[in-house]
Symmetry: C2
Subunit: 162 residues, 2 copies
């Protein structure tokens, strides 16, 4: 659950945002700022910081509390309320996806492409299922008047005893 510093930028990060200025190519700060601008959110200090933490390291699954602690550790002054606000705003504009696995707390996923999850209840650990391992065979027929908004698959795991 602990996160290493966002100091080292993750590998794959630039899926969009053509590099504008040579020396800053691929710089998360830039990417985050563009990301925010693109979706119409003012790039404030805390949104930038949270966005940096969230998107600079590839796919992540965080809870509000986790993100708050990370930000605090990273010496970024943010209130928990703002973390919640930001997570929701990011979700609204499609930057994040909310995953319901544990009735008690909400997880947010930085990977908003179609994919599913593994969840280890005893460890409260949530992670992506490799895209190869397709799980959904065919979508069920929705009842009259409804259409499918999304299909969530959570494969719950337990430690193999032995």
């Amino acid at each position: 659950m602990t996160q290493s510093r966002p100091a080292a930028y993750g590998p794959a990060f630039s899926s969009r945002t053509p590099p504008a200025h040579s020396d800053l190519t691929g710089c998360p700060w830039h990417d985050v700022k563009s990301k925010l601008r693109e979706v119409g959110l003012r790039p404030t200090r805390q949104r930038m910081a949270l966005g940096w933490i969230l998107f600079a390291k590839g796919d992540r699954h965080v809870t509000a509390e986790m993100l708050y602690e990370e930000a605090t550790h990273a010496k970024v002054p943010v209130s928990l309320a703002t973390v919640y606000n930001t997570l929701h705003q990011f979700t609204e504009v499609g930057l994040l996806r909310q995953v319901a696995v544990d009735g008690s707390k909400a997880y947010f996923d930085t990977n908003n492409t179609a994919h599913h999850h593994f969840f280890v209840e005893d460890e409260n650990n949530l992670f992506d299922i490799p895209a190869r391992d397709v799980v959904v065979g065919r979508a069920p027929t929705p009842p009259e008047g409804y259409e499918i908004a999304r299909i969530d698959v959570v494969v719950r795991l337990r430690r193999k005893r032995g």
Copy 2:
């Protein structure tokens, strides 16, 4: 497993006085009592009542609050704490299954056979996906040291706009 109740049972649930004897074979009161005995739970007044409400009408998806209100309406004196206790105990022994769809409240499903769900977010409506409409094609390979405990599929629906 044994889910299909004899069905025909009036909605009216008069009082806490369980019909004591006579021709009660197949009567939910009986079934519930056996059910409880089988799993080693003492058939107390409130457990009987809650079990009756839950299992006498086929597949159901309830929240603690819903069950509490139903019981109250049915003139069954139960405290909310007991409803929670009972739901959890029933779940532990396999009489119920907990479904995580909405991060905020917990739903309990009386159908504990393998199946999945449709969930209409705007209506907070949860219901089973017909068994025919198999959704899971193949199970993903769990990571080393883990095994699959269960696979939950939630197909989120939205009203078809038209």
